[in-house]
Amino acid sequence: MNTRYAFLLSLLLILSCRKDDKDMIDGPDLNDLFGPFTVIQPVTPDRSVVNFAADGPVGFNGELSKNTDWEIKLVGASTGARRSITGFDRVISAENGTWNGGAASFPAFGLEQVYMEVHFPNEPGAPIIRDTLTITGLKNDEGILITGFENGTGPRWSFFNQTTVTGGIVCGNGQAAKGNCYYSWNGTVGWDWAIGSVMVKPDSGTFNLPASASNLYFNMAFKAIQNVGPTNSFMLFWFDEDDDGDGVFEENTEDRYTHEHWSTGTDWDLISLKYADLQFDEDGNPVTVNGNGLPEPAKLVSINVFFLANPGNGNARAYADHLIFTLDQPYTP
């Protein structure tokens, strides 16, 4: 009898070790793959009047019947600025659906109404959810703004325009990349690539940039309108450094770093470049400069923004806006 009891006890001991995975699922959720799609709670912003500077980002809330791809599209009513927020979650909340007021690219959002649409691209027949927000305060830009041309020209700026070119700040026509104003060149120069330039300088001394060039980015909005294309027009930048600190840039003895950016299309284009990369050409070779050869943003005393276009293509037209330095990463509109 003892043997039989030992026998049964052994069996029971083994059976008592059962695993229990009742709350776990192997593989993707079938409901997400094949379940019916419904909107349980429509996706809405947590407030319809938004002051990003004062109140921070907007959160979106909603609930779906399954995890599926969703996309919140935001379009500025006046600027045409665009931003898209995407996700794959059944519940949309501030954790996975927030907007800090920025756009995907230039133009940036202004003080305007924003049209919101929520799409579900993998759910045929799904409704499109629509709503409207009103921006009453723009997001705070992180970076060192050189100029957005909003306050006119500086006292030490200098300008060049060919005789047939109109160049200067334009405001109030809703064409700016950010804000209300931008710099414009427009004219036909049949004898030369040079169209016009604006040399931006601080009111005194330097721009007060940090010393390290390795994590500093220069950013500018550029829009070519006529004479467009990668062989037709480009922006040429001069970054002049006062290496000896005497308050005057000497072209023959100090560093002037240059950078070319060719136009690609007629939309606003965000030009972003790391300041440290100015010391190399496009092949990665060191460029020849006349100073100490070190990119030193703290010694930067002027930035020349020069528009050039193919003289054989007739009229040339372009805009520039929002010169800003950012740390660690390129600017996000």
Partner: protein
């Protein structure tokens, strides 16, 4: 009197006595195998595929065993194969089918080097039976045996290349004996670029306490050798199990027993940069059964319970013989769209499928209509439940009868918290009708039946309801001395739906394939066999196969085969 260790040489080297008398031995096998295949399909569906495919071969496996001394044997099997129509050397292939060195070192340790056949337990290393067999008739088994012979599927072993050793110790107190064995094989060489060299090793330690109690430890381990490629990736899979065998005769008519195996598996993907690669995957399992033997009646009944975790990975025990991810070699593409033809019964029997010759780290594709409950054998992961086996052996009449049933569920839901439930029943018998009639010539009726039902509840997209039934039957009739008439049929009916797991290379389920089945798959065969002696036979048979779908969008077709098979072993 202290412990006295007795070496058990006689258990390990049965061939040595014979070897003392001879230095050289030749054995081998020969075969002639000829096929006439015909594809039957609606000409409107397929006007491009050639309807006939005829081929055949003759081969000779010459085995040479040399005994340089009384404790060493060198065995080589050389294959000469001549394809039908390959006259004057064209189409002739010469291969070394096997090269093995074996012997006993110091009259203690048995060793084998070269081509070795390995098998351990159903959860560590075992080459389990492929689909489509319950109690197969001779007319089908004749041809399947050819496939098994060519693929080295001898019983449940895997053919590998490497070395194995074993020895046994016996004691005169406390325990009766101790058996130790180990092996190390090379699974694949490195390609020098992306694929590191892979080894597979393991061993068993079996403690025989008495005739009633046996305890054992098993371990199998796959591992990549680092520094065999520039990258440092390394795949490892370890399975360690313990076994218990206990039996207790209650009296002369009743014997009770307990058999159990339990253990752990551990898979690791070291230094893989692919974010899908799990760092490690650990799991455990057990399988425990009570056994009742009634020796006087020939009846044996086993009832057990098992729980195989969802992440249990044991490539040595889970590798399928048939790779359902590949299309068979015969009539590989059919229809005017040149669609790949899925493997079916006829391909399993004729060997036209893509068959595994080494163990696979990935859980291979399967067809739920053929088996949904145990696609990876007894070691199928994510299965839990009770099972029952009953067997009756007799010397006359129903000489071998069996019934197996299992009621299983998933231990973890796949894609849902709802779990699949499986019912599997297999039964069959070998009925020697002549025993009842008092005839000496065999009239053998083989009958097998397999029924499987899989269900899952939940919402409509979660529900599964798949039933399949197979009849596997045949008749062998010895009409005159050594001349057999043979007939057989395999009928498979499957109806329902399934959601097949689609796994990535790391065995993670990434998606599910929705499949609807509603078909009949039938094979009928008849033939004649003349046995020159027990190891030499000539047979001719004709087999008709067809698959008929009740869904008009699926392709119906059939394959008829006429074969002549001459087999000789000496």
């Amino acid at each position: 009197m202290g412990k006295k260790i007795i070496l058990i040489v006689s258990l390990l080297v049965p061939f040595l006595g014979w070897a003392q008398r001879q230095k050289f031995q030749i054995n081998g096998a020969a075969r002639g195998y000829y096929f006439v295949n015909r594809l039957e399909i609606d000409p409107e569906l397929d006007s491009i595929t050639t309807r006939k495919a005829n081929y055949g071969h003759t081969l000779f496996d010459m085995g040479v065993s040399v005994f340089p001394n009384e404790s060493t044997e060198v065995e080589g099997i050389f294959r000469i194969r001549n394809e039908l129509g390959g006259f004057w050397g064209g189409g002739v292939a010469f291969d070394v089918r096997q090269l093995t060195l074996r012997g006993v070192a110091g009259k203690v340790v048995r060793y084998e080097l070269g081509d070795i056949d390995l098998s351990m337990t159903p959860y560590t290393l075992q080459n389990f039976q492929e689909e489509g067999v319950v109690n197969e008739a001779d007319v089908f088994a004749l041809r399947r045996d050819v496939v098994h012979y060519d693929m080295f599927y001898q019983n449940d072993t895997w053919r590998m290349q490497g070395a194995q050793t074993s020895f046994g110790l016996s004691f005169d107190k406390f325990i009766k004996g101790l058996d130790v064995s180990s092996f190390l094989t090379r699974q694949r060489p490195t390609d020098g670029i992306r694929q590191p060299e892979r080894l597979f090793g393991g061993g068993t330690l079996t403690l025989i306490q008495s005739d009633r109690l046996q305890l054992g430890l098993n371990s199998v381990n796959i591992f990549d050798l680092q520094r065999t490629i520039p990258d440092s990736i390394q795949y490892k899979n370890n399975v360690h199990t313990g076994i218990l065998k206990f039996n207790q005769p209650l009296n002369e008519k009743i014997k009770l027993g307990l058999e159990a195996e339990g253990g752990i598996s551990n898979a690791r993907y070291v230094n893989y940069r692919d974010p899908k690669a799990p760092e490690k995957r650990n799991e455990w399992f057990y399988d425990a059964a009570a056994k009742l033997d009634l020796p006087t009646t020939g009846i044996s009944i086993t009832g057990g319970y098992k729980d195989i975790g969802a992440d249990f990975l044991s490539p040595g025990a889970q590798t399928k013989r048939i790779n359902f991810g590949r299309f068979p070699g015969l009539f590989q593409q059919i229809t005017n769209n040149a669609s790949g033809r899925p493997a079916s019964y006829t391909d399993f029997i004729s060997g036209a499928t893509d068959n595994s010759y080494r163990i696979s780290e990935q859980l291979m594709p399967y067809v739920a209509a053929y088996t949904y409950s145990n696609p990876y054998g007894l070691a199928t992961p994510n299965r839990r439940g009770a099972y029952l086996k009953a067997e009756r052996l007799d010397s006359t009449g129903f000489r071998k009868s069996f019934l197996q049933a299992a009621l299983l569920t998933e231990s973890r839901g796949t894609g849902t918290l709802e779990k699949k439930r499986f019912l599997l029943i297999e039964t069959g018998t070998d009925w020697y009708v002549n025993d009842h009639l008092g005839w000496k010539k065999d009239i053998k009726l083989d009958v097998g039946l397999r029924y499987e039902l899989t269900r899952r509840g939940g919402q409509e997209f979660e529900q599964i309801n798949l039933g399949s039934m197979m009849v596997d039957a045949g008749l062998s009739l010895e009409v005159v001395d050594n001349l057999d008439l043979m007939g057989g049929l395999k009928l498979w009916r499957a109806k329902g739906n399934a959601l097949i797991d689609l796994r990535n290379r790391y065995n993670t389920i990434e998606n599910f394939d929705i499949v609807d089945y509603d078909f009949w798959e039938n094979a009928y065969a008849g033939g004649v066999r003349y046995r020159f002696n027990p190891r030499n036979a000539l047979s001719a048979q004709y087999q008709v196969f067809n698959i008929r779908h009740l869904d008009a969008s699926e392709t119906d077709y059939g394959i008829s085969q006429f074969t002549i098979l001459f087999s000789l072993a000496f």
